[in-house]
């Protein structure tokens, strides 16, 4: 916990911030042979350690005035758009990391086993995703050379906006309803197997909209 912050002047990459024996290198700083240096341009900030911390050295951070664009990292929540659905995986373009848009898209993949937490072998990718869907997902790992591995296997993750089958209009849902609909879709996918043929809907979007009207 940052108990005390003291703002210092402007620094540039390579500026010496202090001795490693006295301060720790925080964000935007690094340590090299006994010295702490800035690695970006910005304002340096001294953060005092919390009382219970074993290391009593204050931390020096550099608050970048202009950080580079958002890049997905393992654990970050991303918003991505489905580009391709295959039987074992779906390809997505990552558009936002957190709520920050990326300047150029990154490619992500949701593998069949990462769609939901339960009954992972029964997931039908084509029922779960459709090209054009907007999905909230978590980055599992940096993935392979092609893509980041993403997962929707949590309640708050999944499709948040979908294109109608006709492909013209987008229907976004309000956040609370959205959250609810994730649960619904998830449960729907679960019960879907037990449904009669007559009851299976054409697409996930119609399902969503149907639920929307049911619960209004």
């Amino acid at each position: 916990m940052a108990l005390q912050e003291r703002e210092e002047g402007l620094v540039t990459p390579g500026d010496v911030l202090g001795k490693a024996a006295e301060v720790r290198a925080g964000k935007g700083a690094y340590e090299h042979s006994g010295l702490v240096y800035a690695s970006i341009t910005g304002r340096s900030l001294t953060v005092s350690p919390s009382a219970e911390s074993p290391d009593q050295r204050p931390t020096l951070e550099v608050m970048g005035l202009k950080a580079h664009g958002a890049v997905p990292e393992p654990g970050s929540i991303v918003i991505a758009r489905v580009t391709k659905v295959m039987s074992r995986m779906a390809s997505l373009d990552i558009m936002c990391v957190g709520f920050k848009s990326v300047s150029e898209k990154f490619t992500g993949t949701i593998r069949q086993q990462d769609v939901r937490a339960t009954e992972i072998d029964k997931v039908d990718m084509h029922l779960s995703f459709r090209p054009g869907d907007t999905v909230r997902a978590i980055v599992l790992s940096l993935g392979d050379a092609r893509a980041y591995y993403l997962s929707t296997a949590k309640n708050e993750l999944g499709v948040i906006s979908a294109t109608s089958s006709a492909g013209q209009t987008k229907n976004e849902l309000s956040p609370d309803l959205l959250y609810f609909s994730h649960l619904l879709v998830k449960s729907f996918i679960l019960i879907e197997h037990h449904l009669d043929e007559h009851f299976s809907f054409e697409s996930q979007e119609t399902q969503l909209i149907l639920f929307y009207y049911c619960f209004r």
């Binding site: 402007l10 990459p13 390579g14 010496v16 341009t41 304002r43 970048g64 580079h68 664009g69 050379a145």
Partner: protein, 273 residues
């Protein structure tokens, strides 16, 4: 040539190919020669740096030193090309090109492969590649006008553009070259001086870390002379680094004042006041 239906007729430049009318500034064995622009042998040209010249890029810088004018844009970190293998650390990709009017003879060497690779080598060691795993940072340089010492100016400009883009670096990289002309050592040579040189030495240096990222020596040098040249170069790199830091700090204080990310967007022309 675009816009011409038929093939463009053969043309030639009316500028004199050799400097016939003008005696060369330097002749072999001449001890009392003067530099064409009147500078001292170990005096650099004044340097003008500005960050944020290109809004479309993640970061950019414009440098004007004498007649040499360079723009560098940095893009990314962005997705690496599909053909690339997976990498735990980030990649640096560099390209240097010239405008068709950058040299006295039109349209020579638009894409400079050798400089692209030397720029890469000079910068690689200064960038914390671990800070952007698997992605690529592209550094593209365009030499608007070539007036001598092009490569070191491109390197310094690129380092400034990287800092502007917020890419994590161990230090800035300042680069300066020294040429040997007879008994003299000439710093920051202009194009004309470059054509007379017996040997060249280029240093790319991290001034705060006091580490050399790149050292290129060509031609014939005695050990003493090399030592002298290196000291001159390192001293000049240190001074250049200070100018670069001042430029970054100025841009940062402007942007924090008006709370806008890009000071460059509001300035007219590239060489604003």
């Amino acid at each position: 040539m675009t816009g011409k239906g038929s093939a463009t007729p053969a043309t030639y430049s009316p500028s004199p190919t050799s400097r016939k009318g003008k005696p060369p500034a330097y002749k072999d064995g001449d001890l009392n020669w003067a530099r064409p622009d009147g500078r001292g042998f170990q005096q650099c040209r004044p340097a003008y740096f500005r960050t944020g010249a290109v809004n479309a890029a993640s970061g950019s810088a414009y440098v004007e030193i004498g007649n040499t004018k360079v723009i560098v844009s940095v893009f990314g970190p962005r997705e690496s090309k599909k053909a690339m293998k997976y990498s735990d650390i980030g990649r640096l990709n560099c390209n240097v090109s010239y405008t068709s009017f950058s040299t006295p003879v039109r349209g020579q060497q638009l894409d400079h492969k050798e400089y692209s690779s030397m720029l890469h080598k000079a910068l690689e060691g200064a960038i914390i590649l671990e800070s952007f795993p698997k992605t690529t940072v592209d550094v593209f340089a365009l030499v608007l006008e070539s007036g001598g010492s092009d490569l070191p100016i491109v390197i310094s400009c690129a380092s400034l553009a990287l800092a502007d883009a917020g890419i994590m670096m161990y230090d800035l990289v300042a680069s300066v070259s020294v040429y040997s002309l007879g008994v003299n050592l000439v710093i920051d040579p202009i194009s004309e001086e470059e054509s007379y040189q017996d040997g060249s030495l280029l240093i790319s240096y991290m001034p705060s870390r006091k580490e050399v990222t790149q050292l290129t020596v060509t031609g014939e040098w005695s050990t003493d002379k090399i030592n002298e040249a290196m000291n001159i170069c390192l001293d000049a790199c240190g001074k250049l680094g200070e100018i670069m830091r001042m430029c970054l700090k100025e841009a940062a204080s402007v942007s924090s004042e008006v709370n806008l990310g890009r000071p460059g967007g509001r300035l007219k022309g590239l060489q604003g006041a």
